[in-house]
Amino acid sequence: MADELKNQPIPQADTTDDLFVPDDTLMPIVEALIFASEAPVSLSSLKLLLDEEYAVLGSGGVPEGRIVEVIDRLNRQYEDQKRAFLIRYIADGYLFMTHENQAGWVAKLYRNKQSKRINQTALETLAIIAYKQPISKPEIENIRRASADYSVKILLERNLITVVGRAETVGKPLLYGSTREFLLHFGLKSITELPKLREISEIMKDDEFEFEQQMRIKMEDSDAGNPADTSPEQNDEQLES
């Protein structure tokens, strides 16, 4: 640390990692910050908070990589000690969550507080919005070929989507996009983590529509007295004139 350079404005800034805060100091701070937070805490806000104390003029403060390391260490500790919780990265931030082994128990606790499942129609609308955002209601309806009024209303109420602007098209319809609540609800790290849409060309190659089959199975189950899946007698693929 002996610094002979006279032009150096900050005496101790002689290494790239000019200020090293030991893990033992950082760990409880980071732990407390995440623990006390209601919503996921982003890496950048953790850094911002730490730098209030540890950033010295001209230094980079605590590098984000260090924070990630510290969180990893914390998680390893929890695991070693068989703790019932861990820090998960979800919705662009860190959040304490219970361990999946305890899911059954916590589910009992939350029995009456858990949000209702989203119905199929709303889920399809949500998928369209998530993948095609920003998107207007007319565009959604064009894909679904059915009214999206109700779905959009439900999704807005559940805070899974929000208005992100207005389209420049006729009537300037509102544009919808997904929210942080959406990421939280589906356990996504960020919106880029959405599973990739299967290419249409791929679906075309696939002559079995898996989900369609699933639907048929569902129908057979529920309409047991009324079997829907009787193959039609006539089998003319030709166009009748």
């Binding site: 969550m97 998530a130 929000t162 529920s222 030709q238």
Partner: protein, 256 residues
């Protein structure tokens, strides 16, 4: 035709996909005529159940019919010399629909995977803040605010704002004496006029009242006579001459 439960089909495209799957139809070569007929049967059935849902299906039915019609017409080659299959758009539509159905299934899977992790119960901070009515500070309030939130808040504020009503006090300089003159002028022009006619002429309520008082005053001074209409909805003002005192019994003389 078998019955299908409405709940299973999230829209007309779902129903079409179902027909295609069930009949193991090649999606590149959809037998439009048959599918259309089946579709129409179904539409007929659901029309009786739920008109709003049915409208989406009816719309699709008309689309199918238009494809059917186009297929019956001799096709003309497009600019690139290719003959376009009228069913192409429908096929793309169905495939795109399948794409998002898959995506929805993916989301459902994610939701299930996510459901084994619990975060600490939502603190309901907003509610608590509203209850304790303390100022949460701008930082917290402005975090994650979207345009839509602002819109909602704006609307709420506007709705809850008590309407400010302005009571404008205008000084209307009108006196009973003035209005006696006015009534006199009217009676110069017309032999008699109905009180209701005043409403058409006079806008301000106060002037109307003063005019009424003027009429009463004139009656008292025995300058005019008032006739009340039979159904008691109006009265007429007539100038009183020296000679016509107590002209007839129906006359109601307020001047007495």
């Amino acid at each position: 035709m078998y019955k299908v439960s409405l709940d299973h089909f999230e829209g007309p495209l779902d129903l079409l996909l179902f027909f295609i799957r069930r009949d193991e139809v090649n999606i590149y070569d959809i037998p439009i005529a048959r599918i259309t007929n089946e579709f129409l049967e179904y539409v007929h059935y659901i029309r009786q159940l739920d008109l709003e849902v049915a409208s989406d299906f009816i719309y699709m039915a008309t689309y199918l019919l238009s494809i059917k019609a186009r297929m019956l017409l001799p096709a003309e080659p497009g600019e690139d010399g290719e003959i376009e299959d009228p069913r192409t758009e429908l096929m793309t539509m169905l495939l795109e629909h399948s794409q998002f159905k898959e995506a929805a299934a993916d989301l459902l899977k994610l939701e299930n995977e996510r459901s084994v992790f619990f975060q600490r119960l939502q603190f309901d901070a907003e509610k608590k803040m509203a209850e304790s009515n303390t100022d949460p500070g701008l930082d917290i309030l402005l975090e994650n605010v979207t345009l839509f939130d602002l819109m909602l808040v704006y609307r709420k504020v506007i709705q809850n704002t008590p309407k400010v009503t302005y009571h404008e006090v205008k000084k209307i300089s009108v006196t009973i004496e003035d209005q006696i003159k006015v009534v006199g002028e009217w009676l110069d022009r017309k032999e008699r006029f109905a009180f209701s006619e005043l409403f058409k002429e006079i806008q301000e309520k106060i002037v109307l009242i003063i005019t009424f008082l003027a009429i009463l005053e004139m009656t008292k001074l025995q300058k005019i006579t008032l006739f009340i209409s039979e159904n008691l909805t109006d009265f007429y003002v007539v100038r009183r001459t020296e000679t016509d005192e107590d002209v007839n019994g129906e006359l109601s003389n307020y001047g007495g």
